[in-house]
């Protein structure tokens, strides 16, 4: 089970960040998510696996310095 944006999502073997976002059915174009303390950016969504028992944060990236 993984925790994402306050929801419990069933974890499955080989689940990538892209898979997770698709499952959430959230149309917002996220550019960054954080898995526990590790930042993952959109170019890496397709090949970054989400570990079981992890906490995923959806980062609304509109600001810079």
């Amino acid at each position: 089970m993984i925790q994402v944006a306050g929801k419990q999502i069933e974890w499955r073997e080989g689940m990538t960040v892209s898979d997770l976002l698709a499952e959430l059915k959230d149309p917002h174009p996220y550019a960054v998510v954080r898995i526990n303390q590790q930042y993952v950016t959109r170019p890496n969504f397709e090949h970054t696996y989400v570990p079981d028992d992890s906490e995923v944060y959806l980062i609304p990236m509109v600001a810079g310095g």
């Binding site: 959230d26 303390q37 930042y39 609304p60 990236m61 509109v62 810079g64 310095g65």
Partner: protein, 713 residues
């Protein structure tokens, strides 16, 4: 402890006015040439038009200087102000000071915002702004003692030059046992010996029992300060509460402050963890999106970038509360305890490093091809102590490293320094030379624009290629974001009033990553709204981080997520509750628009505010060299064929490079047209008379200036 001496040469005893709805109602004037100290009332028209903070600074500066005034003329004024909301301890990010003066780098107006306690203490001492004119050959400390209602000028001797020790000594000297009551503004030897000087603004950290500091970095404000003979300015004030600003509606203030403060406490841990890692999270995020400058902005990505990322600084930062203003829940001003430099006067000694932030990591790290966090921390420490701007230092050293690698300069010019990218020792040595005003560092300390001229004239270097790779505009060095793939951010830098600093508009993600603004008109609209709203923070004495670095969870479902309108409404409530002037979001934009246009006209007055001054080095727009093109050939080839309908078959890299350049330069020019039109400016980038009238800035001398520049309607 050094044997130092203070001699009071002038004293003004004054009656401190009550703060009314965020305003003291007067400013403080100090002339260092003749020792004059006086207070000046703020009239209703000034308050309505300029609001406070940067607005007040600009108005004082406008009246102090002439079109012919140079940065080092005695009449140049150094102005520092908080704003009407500044000094509120219950609303996050409410402790900013804004500095404005004529810049030694640009020759025109520069403004720079900074944390620390000075601005609020200045205001609570009875002054909405401080204006310092004149120069002295002595070393002086200006002391603003709001507790005892006294302003004094001291001649001093024996004080150390570097800000690290100076801040500690002056805090102790003036504290009378209460160091939290003191805020010191100072610079260092690098400010005297270069044009890149920054100012350090302190606050006292009771947990670590030391004076910490933040920097007003940009445009050489510290150099002006040092040139005036100022050793330091010290403000002293006592307890600050939500009542100190005497808000018009305290209950409303408390309600909105609680909403914003609590939201940050709840959401920052779920978002960027700024209370733990500051802005260091940006390093790897920018790197992954090809936006982290490496090797003088050639590229936006490097395999070793994670060495400078948040996971490293998470371990290096000393944990604890790090707010640069009281009660700020963003609390992002982290530092490194017991750091031991490997070079310079503190070699082998334990010091505390205030930082680094993202800009310093990118400027003094990746952009120099240095991926070692220890070197970045050491550069950070010495730049602060020497009074040098880490952004201009980083971008300046990156430029000379590329010139060295291109063979435009060599060791005969650099005093034997091997300036290949990645040479950590050489980068640090340049910083030490800058501080001492010696060797090649003396030339680097003049900034990129002047280096280009020196290298061409004295070293015979190719001026054309240096124009393309020297990352400055209007004379100011670029801050640390890649803009090649974001036309909107090219505008965010090129059309910024003071030069390429991201504090007007940071649109890269909205434009490049999210593609929220595909048309020129949409980009122009963003380049109107965002600079205006961000200007408003500088008018009021606020930090912008609480606005859009921690975002409501439902923000993405709003009509305009980029603007974070829920927070904009909170800011309107905040302004209304303090000042008693009922305001909505659109009113905040209107407040800024007047000041923003006035600053553009100020540039014009100083000979800089036209279309020709909004140019960019080509590297900000696209690949300069064939190697750069080839490194992202797939991207550029696709753009040429699909967007520009350019037949790339059998074309050489040089031909494709030239074609891409033609299109990109054309795009930037079209963007200027769209932005000028949206802002109510002429095609030459000058506010029209109609715009000046609409905004209430049609003062006689403004109208005269516009007409003298051919603007008659």
């Amino acid at each position: 402890m050094p044997d130092y001496h203070f001699k009071a040469t002038k004293t003004l005893d004054y009656k401190r006015p009550d703060i009314t709805n965020g305003y003291a109602g007067q400013t403080l004037y100090v002339n260092l040439s003749d020792g004059q100290i006086e207070t000046k009332p703020v009239d209703a028209k000034t308050k309505k038009t300029f609001i406070g903070g940067k607005g007040y600074d600009l108005w004082l500066l406008w009246n102090a200087v002439q079109p012919t005034t140079l940065w080092n003329d005695p009449e140049n004024a150094l102005c520092i102000a908080a704003g009407p909301l500044g000094g509120t301890p219950i609303y996050p990010g409410s402790g900013k000071s804004i500095v404005a003066t004529l810049s030694p780098l640009t020759g025109s107006v520069i403004d720079s915002n900074v944390g620390g306690y000075f601005g609020p203490y200045l205001k609570f001492s009875g002054f909405d702004a401080l204006e310092i004119q004149g120069k002295t050959t002595s070393e002086v400390v200006v002391f603003i003692d709001g507790i005892n209602e006294k302003v004094q000028i001291f001649e001093t001797s024996g004080l150390p030059d570097n800000a690290y020790e100076l801040s500690a000594i002056l805090t102790e000297h003036f504290a009378e046992g209460k160091p939290r009551n003191v805020s010191v503004v100072s610079t260092g030897p690098g400010a005297k010996n270069t044009l890149l000087g920054c100012l350090n603004f302190t606050w006292y950290d009771p947990k670590r029992k030391r004076a910490r500091y933040k920097q007003a970095g940009r445009g050489g404000v510290g150099t002006v300060f040092a040139d005036k003979g100022l050793k330091a300015i010290v403000a002293c004030w006592k307890t600050v509460t939500a009542d100190t600003n005497n808000p018009a509606d305290k209950a409303r203030l408390k309600d909105v402050a609680k909403l914003h403060s609590r939201e940050i406490v709840e959401l920052d841990p779920k978002q960027n963890e700024m209370a733990k890692i500051g802005t260091t999270h940006l390093v790897t995020i920018m790197n992954d999106h090809d936006l982290l400058p490496t090797h003088n902005f050639r590229y936006g990505r490097h395999d070793q970038a994670p060495n400078l990322g948040q996971e490293v600084y998470r371990r290096l930062f000393d944990p604890g509360f790090d707010g640069c203003w009281m009660g700020c829940t963003v609390a992002c001003s982290h530092g490194i305890k017991d750091f031991v430099p490997l070079s310079g006067p503190y070699k082998g000694k334990k010091v505390f490093v205030d930082g680094p932030e993202y800009e310093t990591i990118a400027g003094c790290g990746s952009n120099l091809g240095i991926f070692d966090p220890h070197t970045v921390a050491e550069m950070n420490f010495y730049c602060d102590a020497y009074g040098l701007d880490t952004i201009s230092v980083g971008t300046g050293v990156a430029f000379v490293m590329e010139c060295f690698e291109m063979g435009l300069i060599d060791t005969t010019h650099t005093g034997g320094l091997d300036l290949h990218f990645g040479n950590r020792d050489a980068a640090l040595e340049i910083v030490h030379q800058m501080a001492a005003g010696e060797g090649f560092g003396q030339i680097v300390g003049r900034g990129v624009r002047k280096m280009k001229a020196i290298f061409a004239k004295d070293f015979g270097a190719d001026a054309t290629i240096m124009q393309d790779i020297g990352m400055e505009a209007k004379g100011l060095e670029f801050s640390e974001y890649m803009t090649k793939e974001s036309l909107a951010q090219q505008g965010g830098y090129g059309l910024a009033l003071k030069g390429p600093q991201h504090d007007e508009a940071w649109l890269i993600f909205l434009d490049m990553v999210h593609n929220f603004m595909p048309t020129f008109e949409q980009k122009a609209e963003a380049l109107h709204w965002f600079p205006m709203f961000r200007t408003w923070f500088a008018l009021c004495g606020l930090c912008k981080l609480p606005w859009n670095d921690i975002i409501p969870e439902d923000n993405k479902d709003t009509a305009e997520p980029a603007k974070v309108m829920k927070h904009v409404q909170w800011y309107a409530d905040y302004f209304s509750s303090i000042t008693g002037i009922e305001s909505g979001p659109e009113d905040l934009i209107n407040m800024s628009e007047g000041v923003y246009n006035f600053q553009r006209i100020f540039n014009l007055r100083m000979g800089f505010g036209r279309r020709e001054h909004d140019g960019l080095p080509y590297r900000a727009m696209g690949p300069v060299t064939e190697t750069e093109y080839e490194s992202r050939a797939e991207r550029y080839d696709k753009q040429l064929s699909e967007i520009y309908k350019f037949d790339i078959d059998e074309k050489s890299t040089a031909e494709k490079l030239a074609a891409l350049r033609k299109h990109r330069e054309q795009q930037y020019d079209t963007l200027k047209d769209a932005v000028y039109n949206r802002r109510g400016w002429t095609n030459d980038g000058i506010p029209t008379l109609k715009t000046a009238k609409r905004l209430g800035i049609d003062f006689d001398d403004v109208v005269e200036l516009l007409k003298a520049n051919g603007v008659n309607s």
